[in-house]
Symmetry: C2
DNA sequence: TAAGTGTACCATCATAAATAGTACAGTTAG
DNA sequence: CTAACTGTACTATTTATGATGGTACACTTA
């Protein structure tokens, strides 16, 4: 489910956070579903439990999961998160769009690219 | 011309590379124009010359500048760079667009955002 | 020749990421 | 109750990278 890219310059815990955020936002992991345990996931990925712990702490800080001591980590069902992520994405898209328009692309071309996008 | 953001988590040399790439691609720095010397820019930014050197080496590796020993670094006038950058940007835009469509936005909404963009 | 270029080193420091290991508290299935 | 799970909190250590400080050398130009 989670694959670490060792060519990626970002730290491992950050990659894990990103992957889980995507899985949760896209509904692959549903509300109140249990996350893999810290030790299990660490074993599976052959990395240190502390690294998973750090990733989970960050996911909790951002509201994507919640913790029940002794039972495990669970997916949070907060609808606001989707809205927030939408805003983040659109902001990034508009920044990139601005740049690409400044170096010679036209709005028409750009919009055509998006229209052709398969989802 | 170049400002370092110490809140930015990215390394300084990387920020410098990015800034110069943007300046070159947007034509602010024109072909065969001389870059600030390693020592001068280092003084101006109050950082170590080796850090500038690293940034320039990277810019040269990517084809944005060329070096004449004993004279200085100069902006390369390679038209392919703009094309390459366009492709990079569009690829990123399409990735983000895909995500934002998957979490509930419609193409119409997204396109409207881009239409409203001021450039 | 002097002062400016780039380049190549090397040693050092600072920081963050990651690992390793231990310990403790809560939950649950048997 | 016990054993085997959960998460959490530490501390110490290693590793990698970024950044600095300093020196030296070759080339170019006024």
């Amino acid at each position: 489910m989670i694959i670490i890219d060792y060519k990626d310059t970002r730290p491992i815990y950050e990659q894990i956070v990103e992957k889980f955020k995507t899985l949760i936002l896209r509904g692959v992991l549903q509300a109140d579903e249990q996350m893999p345990s810290v030790r299990n996931l660490a074993m599976e990925l052959s990395i240190n439990p502390n690294t998973i712990q750090k990733a989970y702490a960050e996911l909790e800080r951002q509201g994507f999961i919640y913790t029940v001591k002794g039972r495990g980590n669970f997916v949070s069902g907060d609808g606001k998160l989707v809205e927030e992520r939408k805003c983040e994405c659109i902001q990034k898209i508009l920044e990139l769009a601005k740049e690409v328009l400044e170096i010679g692309m036209t709005k028409i071309e750009l919009i055509r690219e998006i229209e052709q996008l398969q989802v």
